[in-house]
């Protein structure tokens, strides 16, 4: 799929081209949003909103960055907006975080009934890992999802999140240590 050609066609109003672009991105995008929001329905809503935003603004896309960078910037911001709204309205349990992440996290399992997508979890380790990622701060979760799930390189992550390369390194490092801290009691499941 020649993305540049598709985008040119979309700018002329070609809906078939837009449909193809959506098809190429939708699964990974929904999974990104799912990892961020830990809710499948919210993930689809967020992804839909992101696609409609880029569609609306497609004429302004100048191809200085890749479409992927642009799209995930929009999607990431949509997810963060949802998370901010959630934290304003919901009762949240704070997780102690300090500069030294060692020993400061506890694994907190959600006590809500498992949703339909939890049926996809193959084993206990995956479920614990998924829960642990959900426990991370928004910043740390973003790093883990972008690097370890979506496979973006450090430079791309810096562009998408709008921070420096040094900040990406620092955040990702702390994010991985935070996961380690949450899961260390269940270490035996990961050897």
């Amino acid at each position: 799929m020649d993305e540049a050609k598709l985008i040119k066609r979309i700018k002329t109003g070609d809906m078939d081209a837009f449909s193809q672009l959506v098809g190429a991105y939708e699964k990974k995008a929904i999974n990104y949003a799912y990892r961020m929001l830990n809710d499948a329905s919210d993930a689809e809503d967020a992804t839909q909103e992101a696609f409609l935003k880029v569609f609306d603004k497609i004429d302004t896309f100048r191809e200085k960055s890749t479409f992927s960078t642009w799209f995930y910037t929009v999607l990431n911001n949509v997810c963060l907006d949802i998370l901010r709204k959630r934290s304003r309205t919901a009762d949240t349990v704070s997780i102690n975080q300090t500069a030294n992440d060692d020993d400061e996290y506890e694994l907190q399992l959600e006590d809500s009934a498992p949703g339909p997508y939890e049926q996809l979890q193959k084993n206990e380790a995956q479920r614990l890992l998924q829960d642990a990622i959900a426990q991370l701060s928004n910043e740390h979760r973003t790093m883990i999802i972008m690097r370890d799930i979506n496979g973006f390189d450090y430079e791309e992550i810096a562009k998408i999140t709008g921070v420096s390369l040094g900040t990406v390194k620092s955040r990702l490092s702390r994010a991985r240590l935070a996961l380690r801290s949450i899961l260390k009691e269940n270490r035996e499941l990961f050897t």
Binding site: T12, G13, M15, F18, S19, V22, G23, E26, K27, I30, N31, Y34, R35, A40, A43, E44, T47, Q48, F51, L52, F55, D56, D102, Y117, L120, Q121, K122, A125, Q126, L129, Q130, I133, I144, R147, D148, I149, G151, Y154, K169, L172, S173, A175, R176, L177, L179, R180, L183, K184, R187, F190, T191
Partner: protein, 266 residues
């Protein structure tokens, strides 16, 4: 092995996994891991977590996600197009009005010239044209141009509106007599000014909307008089723009069989 060494090494392990340390730091970590079992275990644990994260099960896209998204995108595209078309028609109407005024001025001055040429006492400047008043040898004050309102009748068709409609990519197709919003080139000036001396054309706009917006749109339209055709709206373009911004789909056509602009709510 000092505990502080292990703590420092632990902090470097996440980036060591990705080869994102400097050469010197990489070397320090590598040599430490050769001799420290505790840190080797930590390295393997963090590396395994990183690997397992990559393998987390993906959720599937629901079956109607794509279809729903495309429906919303198409709705957005239609709204965008309606807005562009309305703005284009406004521009076209502006150009038409300017063209008609220019025509009136030409006609008026032409008539003046004709009248003056029958009076042998008057001098007509060889360069007099649209913008000049003739110099008269009488004591009468020169004519001033007033009342440039567009006459309904004229002898010369104006070509300018055709260029306005042809240039953009969204140029409407030629209809077969009162067609849809793909209004033809010569219908870029719809509102009550006709360039054909026998036919007046008006705008008939069909508005469709979803249930969420219907009440609000009906409330707006209830301010206008309604007959069996639809709502009579004299100044239709601003209202159509407003309805399009509210999410309604607007399709317009020009119609020579009606006597004013209408909005039909479907």
């Amino acid at each position: 092995m000092a505990k502080s060494d292990c703590k420092n090494i632990l902090n470097l392990i996440p980036l060591y996994i990705d080869n994102m340390l400097s050469e010197e730091e990489t070397d320090i970590v590598a040599r430490h891991l050769e001799t420290c079992e505790h840190c080797r275990n930590e390295y393997e644990f963090i590396a395994t977590l990183t690997k397992e994260t990559k393998k987390l099960n993906e959720i599937e896209v629901s079956s109607d996600f794509h279809k729903n998204l495309m429906a919303k995108a198409e709705q957005k595209a239609r709204t965008k197009k309606s807005r562009k078309f309305i703005l284009l028609r406004r521009a076209g109407a502006g150009v038409c009005a300017a063209a008609v005024i220019a025509l009136c001025v030409v006609t008026y001055n032409g008539l003046n010239k004709h009248q003056e040429s029958t009076n042998p006492d008057e001098y007509i400047s060889p360069t007099s044209g649209v913008s000049q008043n003739p110099v008269k040898l009488t004591n009468e004050a020169p004519n001033t141009q007033s009342d440039v309102s567009a006459p309904k009748t004229q002898s010369t068709p104006i070509e300018t509106p055709q260029k306005v409609a042809e240039t953009p990519q969204e140029a409407p197709e030629a209809p077969s007599g009162g067609g849809s919003s793909a209004a033809p080139v010569e219908e870029a000036c719809p509102s009550a000014i006709s360039l054909d001396d026998t036919v007046s054309t008006y705008t008939v706009a069909t508005v469709t909307t979803n249930e969420d917006n219907r009440d609000a749109i009906e409330q707006i339209l209830s301010r206008y008089e309604k007959d069996e055709t639809g709502y009579k709206v004299a100044d239709i373009n601003p209202l159509l723009l407003q309805l399009a911004e509210m999410g309604a789909t607007v399709e317009t056509r020009t119609d020579s069989t009606v006597t004013q602009n209408y909005i039909i709510l479907e």
